[in-house]
């Protein structure tokens, strides 16, 4: 009833009324480039440390990363080979274990350390896997507890914590890994910077 009345009133009093002005989108098309191509890029920092930038900014897609080869895997490749170690989507980071995969990847959490300070693997008992229960799928070693990031509620800004993760990959290799950032140079969220190194290479 109200809608009918409303529509009638609108028509009677001001057909059109507002909307004369053109759309801003037509007048000022967005500039800048749409990301394309590789979602994972590397930079050698020396001393066995590699800096990897993972563009996980897509809200739906997952990015699969194989620490052993340092390569990105497409979704198909990831499922076919099961060689992926970590998957990324925005701030979510899972390992190939538990409900997320059958790769048996383990992650040990060592808070308040820098990458250089961790030169040996913790006890086997320190390694955790993602949860087995599908209803708690966010229960990954990267997200549990304090998680890999700190979130400023007021600024809506996410910063990486000073935590080192030791990852036992699908091939059984040990890598140390530390998150460094969540934004690219343009300030885009979901672009994760992480430094990592093979423990036996240090």
């Amino acid at each position: 009833m109200n809608r009918v009345l409303f529509a009638l009133m609108s028509l009677a009093i001001a057909p059109g009324g507002v909307g004369c002005a053109p759309s801003l989108l037509d007048e000022f098309p967005f500039d800048g480039a749409t990301p394309h191509g590789a979602r994972i890029t590397h930079e050698d920092l020396g001393g066995g440390v590699t800096r990897t930038i993972v563009d996980a900014s897509a809200k739906e897609a997952w990015v699969y990363f194989d620490l052993d080869t340092g390569e990105e895997l497409s979704v198909d490749e990831a499922f076919e080979t099961n060689a992926w170690d970590l998957q990324f989507q925005r701030f979510k980071v899972y390992s190939n274990s538990g409900v997320h995969g059958s790769g048996g990847v383990g992650v040990a959490v060592i808070p308040d350390r820098s990458l250089e300070e961790v030169t040996s693997a913790p006890d086997e008992s320190a390694f955790l896997e993602d949860a087995d229960d599908p209803s708690s799928e966010n229960d990954s070693p990267f997200l549990a507890g304090d998680g890999w990031y700190a979130y400023d509620l007021l600024k809506h800004k996410l910063t990486a914590r000073n935590t080192v993760y030791v990852v036992r990959t699908t091939e059984g290799a040990l890598h140390t890994l530390q998150f460094k950032g969540y934004y690219d140079a343009a300030g885009t969220a979901g672009v994760i910077t992480l430094d990592h190194a093979r423990l036996d290479a240090l």
Binding site: N2, L24, G187
Partner: protein, 777 residues
């Protein structure tokens, strides 16, 4: 003398009531201006009134005569012209009027009775006219009462009509402009003359140095200036145009800087809970913008203004009056560049503006007993700026808002003592926001939202013989909003209301007036909300009055608060609207006293207290769990208290020149967090010197407002970090000079001290500008 002029006792009461009203601050503070504003175009020949007091008297009389005679002669006897009145349509007073009163001055009183209150209402402002002297005879004013209903925006009255007074600086007590309110409820008025003298380009500039007002300067990135009243937030303050609700709140506030002053006749401000008449959102008070609707037989003016920051402002106005018809039209174009108070980062502080607005209105008043008005306006405003997020992302921001209003209103008298009025208004507000991330396309966004409002009102006022003016009315409002963040659906809500009010002159001498009122709103979302108010005014002497008011106010939850569903996937939180929200509520009392010592000095004092509950706040409603992200939601959980007082004085420095000083104390506290509400100055001191130096034909205005330190809590709900800003002062000055009868030029400076900082006080920096106005002689 008009028959009606000798009519009834109630009138006399009213006359006296008005007399005392005359000393209220609103009238005082605008007395001279009111006088002036009758005929803005004659300022060149303006005669300074001997005092504010007389000024109003004069004005009333002179104006009345002008109306009556329609002539430009003023001299002579006002009484005469008043009595000879013809029912002609009033025009805005001719120059003569003013000239007239020049001489009149003294006679004013005489005139007072002569017209008997021809001024009747007029008296409203003129009050003074009533001043003792005439009061007696003013019995006549009897009509005044009924006059109460007269539309103050139209000068269709004639002195011979028993209830067709003309009002000038009256207060719009209700949407349909019933006038009981201005008598009993303290009201501040800013007149056309004040507006012109201030040189303000928009409403924000105009109000900035007004005593007793406080402002919220935008929020992170978006800007805008919102008005606080009695310590309450802009979203708790109602803004009306011609007594009717308008739409277009952005992020909770009506941006005062979007409202051009070109077509404003006057502004009326009522502080304290006013929901008993206005319904939702009138918690902290009501600002009513009265647009110009009268015209002389023909008038036209154009103003061109240029200043720093590429400020360019062109506006034109014209009016035509023929017989029963009056038409007014205007258009304006304004643009300026963004400003930046922190040049260390790429972000701008204030947006650049480009806005165009037009308005068109017509009034048909075939008889003093009937009037029909239609009007519409359209605003297109572009804002541009650069935003920097904490993440480092830089956005070029463009916002485009369009606002369209159209309405019609009618009012007619049925026999004696009964007036019927009604109106329909339709408003559309469309907002486009485009945020273009630099060097990336990832976080570009474009959102639009559109809001509509249909508001229907009907009201009847009836004068009872027993000195009661009864008013009752109904309102139906339909709101809709569509915006991406509330899902694709258009959201609707409706609100129906009934209100009733009785203005009761308790004694025959009208020293005491009681004003009980009650309104019930029934909202499709939150249900029934009652809003009572009782106000009283006691005027033991013509120069002294005491007023008290106690009322309830409420704010309806916004569409955003009800329906928002916003997920920030980037950082993993969710903000959820809450359809079960109840209105925010306030209970407030105000006590005000006014006294006029003599023609040169008058003072007023007031104290207030408001208790606020059910305040809608954002709270954490779900901690992050493996299944859900951190979720925020709106809840009715807040409690707050605002209390304080105001003191103001007006001194006449020279004939036509006034000093207004004011002090406001505002103690606004959040009772849950036990801390001061953010961003408010506890002390605010304002001073204003304005007037005309006649020999040189100069108009001067110097306005200063000093604000004590304000407290901010950068960490939000926690008190762990507190920022106390420095005090600041805003100084605006303007010098104008008239030449011949058709032009004037002026130079102005705004924010002369350059107060402001990018974080806590994003005021536009100092700006020099100047311009010329040409008008039809």
């Amino acid at each position: 003398m008009p028959a009606a002029a000798t009519q009834s006792e109630p009138g006399a009461d009213r006359g006296i009531a008005l007399v005392s009203a005359g000393i209220d601050r609103s009238v005082q503070s605008t007395g001279a201006a009111a006088f002036d504003s009758v005929s803005p175009s004659v300022t060149g020949t303006e005669v300074d009134a001997p005092s504010a007091h007389d000024a109003t008297t004069l004005h009333a009389a002179a104006y009345q005569s002008a109306i009556a005679s329609g002539s430009t002669t003023a001299s002579g006897s006002i009484a005469a012209s008043a009595s000879t009145t013809a029912g002609g349509n009033a025009t805005e007073g001719g120059n003569a009027t003013e000239g007239g009163n020049a001489t009149v001055g003294g006679n004013a009183t005489a005139a007072g009775n002569a017209t008997a209150a021809g001024n009747a209402t007029a008296a409203g402002n003129a009050t003074s006219a009533g001043n003792a002297t005439s009061a007696g005879n003013a019995t006549s004013a009897g009509n005044a009462t009924s006059a109460g209903n007269a539309d103050n925006t139209t000068a269709f009255a004639s002195a011979s009509d028993d209830a067709a007074p003309v009002r000038q600086t009256v207060v719009t007590g209700t949407r349909t402009e019933r006038y009981a309110e201005d008598v009993v409820v303290p009201t501040e008025v800013i007149t056309r003359r004040d507006i012109e003298r201030s040189g303000a380009k928009d409403l924000a500039e105009l109000l900035e140095t007004q005593p007793g007002l406080d402002f919220e300067y935008g929020n992170f990135t978006f800007g805008g200036v919102g008005l606080r009243l009695q310590g309450m937030n802009p979203e708790q303050v109602m803004v009306l145009v011609d007594g009717q609700r308008i739409t277009g709140r952005i992020r909770g506030l009506i941006d005062l800087s979007r409202i051009p002053v070109r077509s404003i006749e006057r502004i009326e401000i009522i502080k304290g809970p006013g929901s008993a008449l206005y319904g939702a959102d009138a918690m902290g008070g009501v600002v009513n913008i009265i647009t110009r609707s009268r015209s002389r037989p023909q008038e036209a003016s154009i103003t061109a203004l240029y200043g720093e920051r590429n400020e360019l402002d062109l506006r034109g106005d014209a009016g035509l009056q023929r017989g029963a018809f009056t038409v007014r039209a205007g258009a304006g174009r304004r643009s300026n560049s963004p400003y930046d108070l922190n040049t260390n980062d790429p972000a701008t502080t204030g947006s650049g503006t480009g806005s165009t607005d037009v308005n068109l209105g017509a009034t048909w008043a075939p008889s003093p007993n009937f009037q029909l008005r239609v009007d519409s306006d359209y605003l297109w405003r572009d804002l541009t700026g650069v935003d920097l997020l904490p993440t480092g992302a830089i956005f070029d921001r463009r916002e485009r808002t369009e606002l369209f209003n159209a309405g019609t209103s009618a009012r007619g008298k049925l026999g004696t003592g009964t007036t019927l009025s009604g109106s329909v208004r339709y408003s559309v507000f469309k907002d486009q926001l485009l945020q273009d991330q630099r060097n990336s396309r990832q976080e570009d966004s474009f959102t639009t939202s559109i809001e509509r409002l249909v508001d229907l009102n009907a009201q009847v006022d009836h004068q009872l013989p027993a000195r009661n003016l009864l008013s009752a009315g109904v309102e139906e409002a339909i709101f809709s909003q569509r915006t991406a963040r509330q899902g694709a659906d258009t959201r609707y809500r409706t609100r129906s209301a009934v209100f009733v009010q009785d203005e009761w002159q308790v004694f025959e001498d009208a020293t005491l007036t009681l004003l009980p009122g009650f309104r019930v709103d029934i909202d499709s979302q939150f249900g029934t909300e009652p809003s009572p108010r009782i106000a009283a005014r006691w005027a033991p002497r013509p120069d002294t009055s005491l007023r008290v008011a106690y009322g309830w106010g409420f704010r309806a939850p916004s569409f955003q608060e009800l329906y928002l569903l916003f997920e920030n996937t980037g950082v993993g939180y969710l903000v959820q609207g809450n359809p079960k929200l109840k209105p925010e509520r306030s209970r407030g009392a105000t006590v005000a006293a006014d006294h006029r010592f003599n023609d040169d000095v008058s003072v007023s004092l007031s104290v207030f207290r408001n208790d606020l509950e059910n305040l809608i706040e954002v709270v954490t409603i779900a901690e992050p769990t493996p299944e859900t992200p951190l979720t925020f939601g709106y809840r009715n959980v807040g409690h707050a208290l605002t209390q304080g007082g105001e003191a103001s004085a007006r001194l006449r420095l020279w004939p036509g020149g006034y000093l207004d000083v004011g002090y406001a104390l505002t103690d606004a506290r959040n009772l849950d967090q036990q801390r001061a509400l953010e961003g408010r100055s506890m002390h605010r001191i304002s001073a204003q010197v304005s007037g005309r130096i006649r020999p040189a034909a100069l108009d001067l205005s110097l306005r200063v407002a000093w604000n004590s330190p304000r407290t901010f809590y950068p960490n939000g709900i926690t008190n762990d970090v507190t920022v106390k800003t420095d005090p600041f002062a805003v100084i605006d000055a303007r010098v104008g000079k008239r030449f011949f009868s058709w032009g004037s030029a002026f130079v102005s400076v705004n924010n002369a001290l350059g107060a402001g900082d990018a974080t806590y006080l994003p005021l536009p920096p100092r700006q020099f500008y100047g311009g010329v106005t040409l008008e039809l002689p």
